[in-house]
Amino acid sequence: MAEREQIKRSTTSRSDDAAVEEVPSTKTKKGDELKAELDDLLDEIDEVLEENAEEFVRSYVQKGGQ
């Protein structure tokens, strides 16, 4: 088992692909309802997202933390 998993490790360099695949499985499980809920949320988020997002991201610098 150990050897098999060690081999697998070298092939999982783009691990995010696997997680992207997880999303459809949830969608099929809960169907349109979940999709609609997420859409509503995304509509709302567009309204509250920081107006000048790019400047906000650029200016947010936090030095001196533990």
Binding site: S15, V20, L41, I45
Partner: protein, 499 residues
């Protein structure tokens, strides 16, 4: 037997002033906390601003056991819920009062968010038109600078520290699959040159050592700071710097709960007794590997040659914890009910992570973020490097309810807003924080300084009276409520305590 895990959480918040000239974080942090203190002092009759910093400089608030980096000339206050609220380096920081129950420490950390949100409102009202204070409960600015959310666990001093190190590191590495707050991108290039669009945790990028004293550079997985803020012959305080600040109450509960259980097992030498050793070959590399691995399938190499995924290792830990609880009980984490809730929640989350991680979008921060960001990317056809995703990644953690993306997700909560609001003012009842908080509520003007392990009263005559509180589980409601009801002044209190 494992001792009661007295718990605390310290959170350094990110801060920026929007709409003005360049934001100075130290000045902004001071303005934020001063705004809170002056607004609230009208209600509790406490003048921190004039009193406390000066007294601290004379040394009463700074016992030998205080962290060496405490800058006492900066704002540094104690609140009526027993918490500490202060400027640490360039951040506003809130330390929960000591709690003897995992639910309590999550509740008091949430109360801290409410205190910061109140502070934002008060401070913004004092700023010029078009300006506002933004405070984030996260751990990274996205540019390679990190700030911490530290957990604290009281341990039995007689347990060899080497056993603590061996026992808890595998958990710190693998618990990330449910403790992670999620982050867009990667701030330290991965050694193998891979590309990371999104990772489980805010903090994993910033750890370079396995064990060490540092907290601001070359951060270690195990921090060796040894200041128990209590009887150092009996106790050790494990200062855990490796975790993320959680917005999700469920993630926060499971982070502290699972760790408190594991530490109880370490105290009772349960890993040795069960013949289990999960020591990792390269803990620092494994920490980052787990954080990058959204599929939860990356095998981690153990020192004995085996490999195990983070999820598999968590199942092993849970199985051991269940056997431990059957044999020794879980009184050490706040009672059997709390212990059972931790184990049940732990099992539910691991099962869901195994079956379909996205089903935890109402419980875990990293999953909630990933689902939201993927939805947003789909809708607008964005690449992961788009600044709007980075802005969302920050704004998820905004403490202001109107701006917080987390608040709009309607995730599962453990406490009502009323319970959190009450914890802003009232101390927990089962530690010395109760005595501290109640004294501050009643006699703030007569308190020269307060600290984790003492309160200094100024009775208007020399010398000042220091009340030591070296035992974290003394000074509880059960211990002192009757006494506090009998006395009518600080002088009477001191007299009663002296007799």
């Amino acid at each position: 037997m494992a001792i009661t895990k007295v718990l605390g959480m310290e959170t350094e918040y990110g801060i920026v002033i929007r709409g003005g000239a360049e934001s100075n974080p130290v000045a902004a942090s001071s303005a934020l906390i001063n705004a809170y203190v002056s607004e609230r002092s009208r209600r509790v009759g406490w003048d921190f601003e004039d009193e406390t910093p000066g007294r601290d400089a004379r040394g009463f608030g700074r016992e030998a056991s205080m962290p060496p980096e405490v800058e006492t000339h900066l704002v540094n206050t104690v609140l009526t819920n027993g918490a500490r609220y202060y400027v640490d380096h360039a951040h506003p920081e809130y330390s929960t009062p000591e709690c003897a129950n995992v639910y309590d420490v999550v509740l008091y950390d949430r109360a801290g968010e409410m205190i910061l949100a109140d502070s934002v409102r008060f401070a913004t009202a004092l700023l010029g038109p078009g300006q506002s204070v933004v405070v984030l409960k996260n751990n990274s600015d996205g540019k390679g600078n990190s700030y911490g959310n530290h957990e604290n666990y009281l341990l039995d001093r007689s347990v060899p520290f080497s056993r603590v190190i061996t026992g808890v590191i595998p958990h710190f590495v693998t618990r990330q699959i449910f403790t992670g707050s999620g982050k867009v991108g990667c701030e330290v290039p991965p050694p193998d040159g891979r590309h990371v669009d999104f990772q489980l945790t805010q903090r994993a990028d910033f750890f370079e050592e396995v064990v060490g004293l540092e907290t601001t550079l070359k951060r270690p997985i195990i921090n060796t700071r040894d200041e128990p803020h209590s009887d150092s012959h009996k106790y050790r305080r494990l200062h855990v710097i490796v975790g993320d600040a959680n917005m999700s109450e469920v993630a926060s509960f499971l982070k502290v709960g699972s760790t408190a259980v594991i530490l109880s097992m370490v105290e009772d030498d349960w890993f040795t007794r069960a013949g289990k050793d999960f020591s990792l070959r390269s803990p620092v590399a494994a920490l980052r590997e787990v954080s990058y691995d959204l599929s939860l399938t990356a095998p981690l190499e153990l020192q004995d040659g085996r490999t195990m995924t983070a999820l598999e290792m968590q199942w092993e830990h849970l199985a051991l914890a269940k056997k431990y609880s059957e044999s020794c009980g879980l009184d050490s984490v706040g009672g059997e009910t709390v212990g059972r809730d931790i184990l049940n929640r732990w099992e539910d989350v691991l099962s869901a992570l195994e079956a379909d991680p996205m089903s935890l979008s109402g419980q875990l921060d990293w999953v909630a973020k990933l689902r939201l960001f993927e939805g947003y990317r789909d809708r607008h056809g964005l690449s992961w490097s788009d600044h709007r995703l980075r802005a969302m990644d920050l704004q998820y953690h905004d403490v202001a309810p109107g701006r917080s993306l987390f608040a709009r997700l309607g995730m599962e909560t453990l406490f009502s807003p009323e319970e959190v609001r009450r914890a802003v003012d009232e101390p927990p009842e089962t530690t010395r924080a109760y005595f501290r908080g109640k004294c501050l509520q009643r006699w703030a003007p007569a308190i020269a300084a307060a600290n984790w392990d003492s309160i200094v009263f100024d009775l208007g005559r020399e010398p000042l009276c220091r009340v030591p509180m070296l035992e974290p589980l003394r000074g509880t409601r059960a211990h002192v409520e009757g006494l506090l009801a009998r006395v009518t002044s600080p002088a009477e209190l001191i007299e009663a305590l002296s007799s």
